[in-house]
């Protein structure tokens, strides 16, 4: 079976930055490809190229076997686009938004109304169907956006940061909706800044950094490379931090990092926790804090690239404070 997306050597330069510096990428038909990366890593630029909104400077890409540069119309017939930069019309009602898109897809008038009603029902928007989209909550708007991208029954769906800016409850709702789509056999390309989101939804993950693919594989492979958990130890006496780091490194087998007060190390095996406690106790080091948590995207990036996931100034993505993922 052919791959849903094949991209080779995509390069895109803007005035004073290189958004994509040679990206190769393959999305298997019927699978979810997660593209993980911080702000300014080139995720949105890539989606815009793959959805024919932007021409690449170099490289080529096919979607459903069609070239995005030379056969954009055929590509557009295959895809649905949703995300931060492809929005619904806030002045129109939910129904009007969907009917308009259905009509543009060539549905008859009654056909368009039926398709709109069907999608509004599916995304629990029937009650809000007659209201202007501007009155919708963040979660409702994303659902309408998603419904809009499904009007033409796409084979391939681009979800560009579908949950950025949503509260945890709406995010969970959105995840359920996306999982529901997968049952329909749609191929999905999902971009996200959240490791957990990629982990939850994607079959394959590509990690983008500064316009380059720096890692790819299954979520498990990626986590094995980056460590599934982060052990964080803060001694009561900051003067003993060096000893703590030595112990943490010895037990975890990973390189320790430290701030002024705490030692951190990536760990893959939960069993290290009692071992660390035992050794600290042996040394008589009193603790202020001891936690085992999921790594932040920052830490995954550090593990994969050796540098933090920095926010590229002037990047197109501007959502603030999303790199720090809350730990559970």
């Amino acid at each position: 079976m052919t791959d849903a997306i094949r991209a080779e050597g995509l390069v895109k330069r803007f005035k004073n930055e290189t958004a994509l510096a040679g990206v190769d990428l393959t999305a298997r038909t019927g699978a979810v490809l997660g593209v993980l990366g911080p702000n300014g890593s080139g995720k949105t630029t890539m989606v815009r190229i793959l959805s024919t909104l932007l021409l690449p400077d170099e490289g080529r890409a096919t979607v459903g076997g069609y070239d995005v540069v030379t056969e954009p119309h055929q590509v557009r017939r295959q895809i649905g686009l949703t995300g931060q930069y492809a929005s619904v019309d806030e002045e129109l009602t939910g129904t009007q938004n969907l009917v308009l898109i259905a009509r543009l897809f060539g549905f008859s008038r009654p056909g368009a109304r039926a398709r709109a009603a069907e999608l509004l029902e599916r995304f629990a928007l029937t009650e809000a169907a007659g209201r202007a989209a501007r009155t919708y909550s963040g979660g409702m708007r994303r659902r309408l956006d998603l419904a809009a991208s499904l009007v033409g029954r796409p084979n391939l769906l681009y979800l560009d940061e579908p949950t950025t800016g949503l509260d945890p409850h709406s995010r969970n709702e959105m995840w359920d909706v996306v999982r529901g789509l997968l049952d329909d056999g749609v191929t999905v390309l999902l971009t996200t800044q959240y490791l957990e989101e990629a982990d939850q939804l994607a079959d394959d993950i590509v990690v983008l950094d500064r316009g380059k693919v720096i890692s790819q594989g299954s979520p498990d492979q990626l986590k094995a490379r980056a460590g599934t958990q982060v052990l964080q130890v803060q001694p009561a006496d900051p003067g003993r931090l060096t000893e703590v780091i030595t112990i943490v490194e010895a037990v975890s087998g990973a390189e320790g990092r430290s701030t002024d007060t705490t030692a951190n190390a990536a760990v893959t095996d939960r069993a290290v926790l009692p071992e660390v406690v035992r050794r600290l106790d042996d040394q008589g080091i009193a603790l202020a804090e001891l936690t085992l948590r999921k790594p932040s995207l920052d830490e995954v990036f550090l593990a994969l690239t050796g540098h933090p996931a920095d926010d590229v100034p002037g990047g197109r993505d501007t959502a603030p404070a999303t790199l720090e993922r809350t730990t559970h």
């Binding site: 017939r77 929005s87 619904v88 019309d89 002045e91 549905f107 009654p110």
Partner: protein, 279 residues
């Protein structure tokens, strides 16, 4: 018997047609997509209270204020005489100001990603632009109609009747068509809707005031009068006056057409190029 051979050609379209299967966009499809996006643009008039206010309140206020505040001082014939002089001017001024909205709306739609949504659909590349411009042309007509209705309400009864009204509307629409490409170009060039609004509006004051809209340019200082004489707005307003109230039409109409051609020739290509680049 084979079912396929006996099945009659369906006369009615299928109740639910699927996504279009055309391999490329035909001119007919472009027209249809443009019409659908014009419909979208017009739906927003009903939904947006600011727009309804802009379309109705502004003409009422302008016509009312200018006629009753300045009327008696401006004309020996009293406010009634000034009313007849100024209603065509107010109509032109309102439409000219309304063209700023074209750029603002384009900019807003692009910034919000609405055009991206349309452009990722299998529709003609130009359809969103066509929809925006045609939708605004309807707004311009509504603006003119509103001013004329207000004028009618305060006693404006042009001699030329309906024919004159239609002809005068057609003239100002012709000019607005040329001018809207300038506004569209600014809307596509500048970053934010706010900037479009400011840079789009500032010229509108000298353009509409330093013209024959409110007073006869002969009464202005010579340098200002010189500007007012070549100002396209003067030609538009003079043509409308000619058509509504009687007076020379051919010469100002020729100037109006010339200005429209010049504006379109410069800004239509610039706007469409900026559109292809940005949207």
């Amino acid at each position: 018997m084979n079912a396929a051979t006996t099945t009659e050609r369906p006369t009615a379209p299928a109740p639910e047609s699927g996504p279009n299967t055309a391999v490329r966009i035909t001119p007919a499809a472009t027209v249809q997509h443009g019409a659908l996006l014009t419909w979208r643009s017009l739906l927003k008039i009903k939904r947006n209270p600011e727009e309804i206010l802009g379309l109705t309140f502004m003409p009422i206020m302008f016509a009312g204020l200018f006629v009753f505040v300045f009327g008696n001082s401006m004309s020996d014939g009293g406010w009634q005489s000034y009313r007849d002089f100024i209603i065509p001017g107010i109509a032109a001024q309102s439409v000219i100001f309304a063209t700023v909205g074209t750029g603002v709306t384009l900019n807003t739609d692009i910034e919000k990603g609405i055009f991206d949504r349309f452009r990722a659909l299998p529709v003609a590349r130009s359809a969103p632009l066509i929809g925006a411009i045609l939708g605004d042309m309807v707004r311009y007509v509504l603006t003119v109609a509103m001013v004329l209705i207000v004028g009618f309400a305060i006693g404006f009864r042009p001699e030329s009747g309906l024919v004159g009204l239609v002809a005068a509307t057609a003239v100002v629409m012709l000019f607005a068509f040329g001018l809207c490409w300038l506004s569209a170009f600014m809307g596509l060039l500048l970053r934010t809707p706010m900037a479009v609004n400011i840079f789009g509006s500032i010229w509108m004051f000298p353009l509409t005031f330093a013209s024959s809209t409110f007073v006869n340019p002969e009464n202005m200082p010579s340098w200002m009068s010189a500007f007012a004489t070549v100002n396209p707005v003067t030609h538009v307003v003079d043509t409308m006056r000619g058509l509504l109230l009687g007076g020379p039409v051919a010469e100002p109409l020729l100037w109006t057409a010339g200005w429209t051609l010049v504006l379109t020739a410069i800004f239509f290509p610039l706007a469409t190029r900026a559109y292809r680049k940005r949207a």
